[in-house]
């Protein structure tokens, strides 16, 4: 009896310590959110005001007046196209690699892993020059192709980990029933890994949505996605502080949705996501 009580006391202490850590971690987010619903006069108060009259004015401005809709659209076009291309071709490659005998497949997978070591800056330079030569700067295809390329190692590794879980007996049974390679892939194996396909697509979407460096270099006024738009956001306007906070919160909303969809799969996706 005594022992259980002591145990729960230490558990409570541990719980409080971890809550404190989480609270500190989330403070910058909470602060940004509070700023976004404050009038500038409250936002600049010293010491910071915790009691104030909240306003949704700046959130309204972000969504309806300040042209953020356009950047949202750009981000959506770029991320969704990237996911569609990257996941479809990556899935095929991953299936092929998971079914190959011999050392070739292992070699290719390792090669993909080492591609992630390349500093993105080293790729940004030739991407920029080639896109300039081909007149593709500030077009969607340039940005999408760049993102597909850097997403490939990740997409293939993650899908590969799902295909390896499907025993080859399944393929063999399909082959005995007379299915071709493509039929086996599309009608038999792909449906089995459908949950994995969703996970891969969501992670791939997240990578594309968050990308900054390539967007900074390859996009322009017509195709600028959210991260670049908000990094450039500024001005002498006193409203700027609250307004950009509202914009930052708006950019975060899809991420919170991703996270809720992904929570079951975070570990697998991120461990392999490191392969990006």
């Amino acid at each position: 009896m005594k022992k259980t009580r002591r145990l729960s006391a230490s558990q409570l202490l541990l719980f409080l310590a971890l809550c404190l850590f989480t609270a500190i971690t989330l403070t910058p987010v909470a602060w940004a959110f509070l700023t976004s619903i404050k009038q500038p006069i409250d936002a600049f108060a010293i010491p910071p005001k915790l009691v104030f009259e909240p306003t949704l004015e700046f959130h309204h401005m972000v969504w309806f007046e300040k042209g953020f809709g356009r950047f949202f659209l750009n981000s959506a076009i770029i991320s969704v196209s990237t996911v569609l291309i990257s996941v479809s071709i990556g899935t095929m490659a991953a299936y092929g690699l998971s079914r190959m005998r011999g050392k070739a497949a292992k070699g290719i997978l390792l090669g993909l892993l080492s591609l992630r070591m390349f500093p993105h800056m080293l790729l940004a330079i030739p991407f920029f020059i080639l896109a300039k030569l081909l007149n593709l700067i500030d077009t969607y295809p340039a940005m999408v192709l760049a993102l597909v390329a850097i997403n490939q190692p990740f997409t293939i590794w993650l899908m590969h980990s799902f295909f390896v879980d499907v025993p080859a007996e399944v393929d063999e049974a399909a082959a005995i029933d007379g299915a071709s390679e493509w039929q086996t892939f599309f009608k038999v194996v792909l449906p089995i890994v459908r949950p994995g396909l969703w996970v891969t697509a969501l992670f791939s979407l997240l990578l594309a949505y968050n990308e900054f460096l390539f967007a900074l270099v390859l996009t322009g006024p017509n195709t600028k996605p959210l991260p670049v738009a908000i990094a450039e956001y500024g001005g002498e306007d006193l409203n700027y502080w609250s307004l950009s906070a509202a914009a930052a919160i708006a950019i975060m909303i899809p991420i919170v949705v991703f996270m809720m969809l992904l929570q079951k799969h975070l570990v697998r996706g991120l461990a392999l996501g490191a392969v990006k």
Binding site: P28, P47, M121
Partner: protein, 319 residues
């Protein structure tokens, strides 16, 4: 080779089961039933990889041998001249030193803090999932947005930190304006975004440690700390090497956050190698020299990764 098995360990799916299945299938295939034509599956990805990854990389290597100015289009072959220039340039060495300092402190702090929190979560018997999810948020926020959040905390006078400190009558340091504090702020920013990743991976790793081994040690009278350091950490050493290597490589190319927080300043206090490459290529348009700097970065990162895997990986065999 080592890296794949490490990547495998990180996946906290029962990898043993996977190996068993793979072994079984290889055996069955060895009996050699049918030849499969799988290369068409690889073709589209291969084309993309060649034209958009390998060709540009080759092009960057090629560019690094030329003195190319993007705005004028003048291009002269200089051989290894760009590399020689960089290696003889104090600015390169000081930004390399800064980068190593920032990477080492960030990854070090992230690992220690991450391990402490992961162990805490491991010991906690309730609310683990919810806490883990909440503390994970900073890691997936768009890095630029995360950097802005931190900028508003560290900004002079009106930032959260300054106004709290001022409210308590403490005169705060100039977080983003003072060279030393700017570097510390950059490290804090990286720590904020990547400690959650450490926690997630280490927590998952701790949970894979064989329970019977822990119990045996406890019966022998080992306390919580001894179990952690003598049993659990050695057991997940491959995972630790994996996560440290990955973080080191990422931190080396750390760009978004520094760009938004300090853009390399004040002066060049937070100018890392990546920031210097960006400035060379996209501000001064010296793309040849910038490419050479990119190649040098790659070589350094690969060497560091090899050392990390070699040294920490090998001491496993000794233990």
């Amino acid at each position: 080779m080592a890296t794949t098995s490490l990547a495998g360990t990180a996946v906290v799916q029962s990898s043993k089961a996977v190996t068993r299945i793979t072994e079984r299938t290889t055996k069955r295939r060895a009996k050699g039933a049918r030849r499969r034509t799988l290369w068409p599956f690889l073709l589209p990805s291969g084309v993309i990889a060649f034209f958009i990854l390998l060709y540009p990389l080759g092009y960057a290597l090629y560019l690094s041998l030329f003195d190319v100015y993007l705005d004028t289009g003048v291009s002269t072959f200089v051989g290894l001249g760009n590399y020689a220039d960089l290696l003889g340039d104090m600015r390169f060495w000081s930004s390399l030193l800064r980068t190593v300092g920032i990477v080492a402190s960030a990854v070090g702090v992230e690992f220690c803090l991450g391990l402490a929190v992961a162990y805490g979560l491991y010991r906690l018997k309730f609310a683990v999932r919810g806490l883990n999810l909440l503390m994970f948020l900073p890691h997936i926020i768009t890095p630029v947005v995360a950097a802005l959040f931190l900028k508003w905390v560290f900004a002079g006078r009106w930032g959260l930190l300054d106004s709290v400190l001022a409210g308590m009558g403490i005169f705060p340091p100039d977080w983003l304006g003072d060279p030393m504090w700017a570097r510390i702020t950059v490290v804090i920013a990286d720590t904020w975004q990547f400690t959650p990743f450490m926690i997630l991976v280490l927590f998952a790793g701790l949970n894979t440690v064989d329970q019977s081994q822990i119990e045996a040690a406890q019966i022998d009278g080992a306390g919580g700390r001894q179990v952690l350091f003598r049993i659990m950490l050695p057991a997940i050493r491959p995972l630790i090497v994996f996560v440290l290597t990955m973080r080191m490589m990422d931190a080396f190319r750390y760009f978004d956050t520094i760009y938004v927080l300090t853009s390399g300043g004040p002066g060049s206090a937070t100018e890392t190698i990546t920031m210097q490459t960006y400035a060379l290529a996209f501000r001064l348009f010296q793309v040849g020299k910038a490419s050479a700097l990119g190649v040098i970065t790659l070589v350094i990162v690969m060497a560091l990764a090899a050392i990390l895997i070699g040294v920490v990986g090998r001491s496993k065999e000794r233990a």
